[in-house]
């Protein structure tokens, strides 16, 4: 499989704090990759640099071999790189229907159309219905996002990113803060993502990480501690010491 997303010597400093340090990392096409590490390790900061929300202090980001380090977030999305947020970033006054329809319309390149109503184009309805069904949002399509239960908002968070039909999808703790009873829907939706989408998952639940991922990268203090298959990483004593120890009381 070809490399779809790659960082070369990525570095990010917030004043004196090094949040990303000489980070070299590769995502292979179609793989399920987990990024783990204790809180504050720099996982979200890495995602922010990959997606263009934060400029790196040094280093490069390559998508399909193209240097995208200096592209805006929306340009990266149109090249096939989408993400979800650890803390919900949704359009609270819109409905899931409007949100998903908008995301689909933007992906099709019609977002600029100021005359034709949303949904008047062929194909949009089908695709919105498909996405709503996939993420179990069919029964709340017409409700304002702000009034949805948190678990549904988390599902919408993934649905919106998925609507961009990304080649690479970065999921930043998709089940964070979701009560146990609602986790299943979210994890199932993540597990059922189509195989052609390459997925990078940030998650603290080790059982989930081990069942979902093929490869794991462990990040500590902004640097890569180790990377490898699930087997390799789960038997690495350094990982057990640094990460699993932390997770027990974090």
């Amino acid at each position: 499989m070809a490399t779809v997303l790659e960082t070369v010597g990525l570095e990010k400093r917030f004043g004196g704090l090094v949040a990303t340090s000489d980070f070299n990392f590769k995502l292979e096409g179609g793989e399920r990759h987990a990024l783990i590490g204790p809180n504050g390790a720099g996982k979200t900061t890495l995602i922010n640099q990959l997606t263009g929300v934060l400029p790196p202090t040094a280093g490069k980001v390559l998508l399909m071999g193209e240097d995208i380090t200096h592209l805006r977030p929306d340009q990266r999305v149109r090249r096939g790189l989408a993400r979800t947020f650890q803390i919900n970033q949704l359009f609270l006054q819109l409905t899931p229907l409007e949100t998903i329809a908008l995301a689909v319309t933007e992906r099709m390149g019609h977002g600029n159309s100021w005359w034709r109503p949303v949904g008047s184009r062929a194909g949009i309805t089908d695709e919105v219905a498909e996405i709503a069904g996939r993420f179990h949002l069919g029964d709340v399509l017409g409700e304002k996002t702000i009034s949805l239960p948190y678990g549904r908002q988390r599902l919408l968070e993934i649905a919106v990113a998925f609507a961009a039909r990304p080649r690479v999808l970065l999921l930043d703790e998709p089940a964070a803060g979701v009560p146990e009873s609602e986790r299943h829907d979210i994890l199932a939706a993540v597990a059922e993502l189509p195989r052609e989408v390459t997925v990078l998952l940030i998650e603290h639940d080790m059982d989930l990480v081990f069942s979902f991922a093929e490869r794991i990268t462990v990040m500590v203090n902004g640097a890569q501690l180790t990377a490898g298959t699930v087997d390799e990483v789960s038997h690495d004593p350094r990982v057990r010491a640094v990460y699993l120890g932390e997770a027990d009381h974090g």
Partner: protein, 342 residues
């Protein structure tokens, strides 16, 4: 729930968004019948229609895209001077002048749009305020062109369509302004239900996420700021043409504050708020300034404080349920297929 079960709900839900609500139809029937039912009030009705259009313009950036402005009169005033000067020196035809006033104001909107891209609400307030003050002082200094503090005199309009003279009772004026308001409203409404309009709401709600679904945020903001300027340019042109006069107060801070007040009264983000607010504002202004000519702003100020404290939503629900039904109609509930628990 499968995709084919959801399909009708999605299709209906998207279609229902832009469907005309009966209350909207009633609103416009009342607006047009006012022309015939209130023949003695055409002058103030004309002012209301122009203020309503100006408020729609502000609503497009404030209610839809979340851009705050304390200097929106810059565009109203620029349109007014452009139309007045055009009529005086180049061509007195109202429609050609309207086009000229609109196009030039649109250009001004485009140029100044780059100033509001960066920064937070506070910097935007300061920048828009600054631009308006700047234009106001410019118009004051260019007395040879604008008439300075005396205002631009000697503007004479040709009859509308070569047939309808602008009479002193405002008959032609109100018909002209009302029809223009309606046409501009239809355009604004169309924009608001387009994918472009929806993307503005998305930017207003969360610009970080908007860019994360591929929306070029700055370009959309430039576009709507420019469009809003052209709407204000139309309002300004109408104002100058129907009064055959332009003066510095069209560029004043007071005008910018008034239109903000209109949106506070009527509510932002659904187009009708600007129009309802304009009616209420003008009636209040008329009534209060008859009551206490010098101090009517005191009362307007008091009302503003009350509205903000009590909350416009609750008040409008109390005063008239119909206002509430105008508000962002919650898109129609999904069809029966979608209601069943999935």
């Amino acid at each position: 729930m499968t995709k084919s079960e959801l399909n009708p709900a999605v299709a209906n839900g998207l279609k229902a968004r832009q469907r005309w609500h009966p209350a909207e139809v009633v609103f416009w029937l009342i607006a047009f019948s006012s022309y015939f039912l209130l023949p003695g009030k055409h002058l103030i009705l004309n002012e209301i229609a122009i203020l309503a259009l100006f408020a729609i313009s502000l609503d497009l950036i404030l209610g839809y895209a979340g851009i705050v402005s304390l200097g929106h009169a810059a565009f109203l005033g620029f349109g007014a001077y452009a139309a007045a000067l055009f009529a005086k020196h180049i061509n007195p035809d109202p429609l050609i002048g309207l086009a000229f006033g609109t196009i030039t104001t649109t250009l001004l909107g485009f140029i100044t749009s780059f100033l509001v891209l960066r920064g937070n609400d506070l910097t935007r307030l300061m920048i828009t305020l600054g631009v308006a003050l700047l234009l106001n002082e410019l118009a004051n200094q260019l007395g040879w062109l604008t008439g300075g503090a005396d205002g631009l005199q000697g503007v004479e309009m040709a009859p509308l369509l070569g047939m309808f003279r602008f009479d002193m009772f405002g008959r032609t004026a109100y018909a002209y302004s009302l029809i223009t308001l309606f046409v501009m409203f239809l355009i604004a409404r169309r924009i608001s239900y387009s994918s472009f309009g929806l993307s503005l709401n998305a930017i207003r709600d969360n610009s970080l996420r908007a860019s994360a679904i591929g929306i070029p945020v700055n370009r959309r903001l430039i576009a709507i700021y420019t469009i809003a300027a052209s709407f204000a340019g139309v309002a300004g042109s109408l104002m100058a043409q129907t009064s055959q006069y332009a003066s510095l107060d069209v560029l004043s801070f007071e005008k910018s504050a008034d239109v903000m007040l209109v949106l506070v009264i009527g509510g932002a983000g659904y187009l009708y708020g600007g129009m309802i607010g304009a009616v209420v504002f003008k009636i209040l202004q008329d009534w209060l300034s008859a009551l206490t000519p010098q101090y009517w702003h005191f009362w307007i100020g008091l009302i503003l404080v009350i509205i903000v404290l009590i909350g416009r939503e609750r008040m409008s629900q109390g005063v008239a349920g119909i206002v509430a039904s105008f508000k962002r109609k919650t898109p129609a509930a999904p069809g029966p297929a979608a209601k069943a628990e999935g």
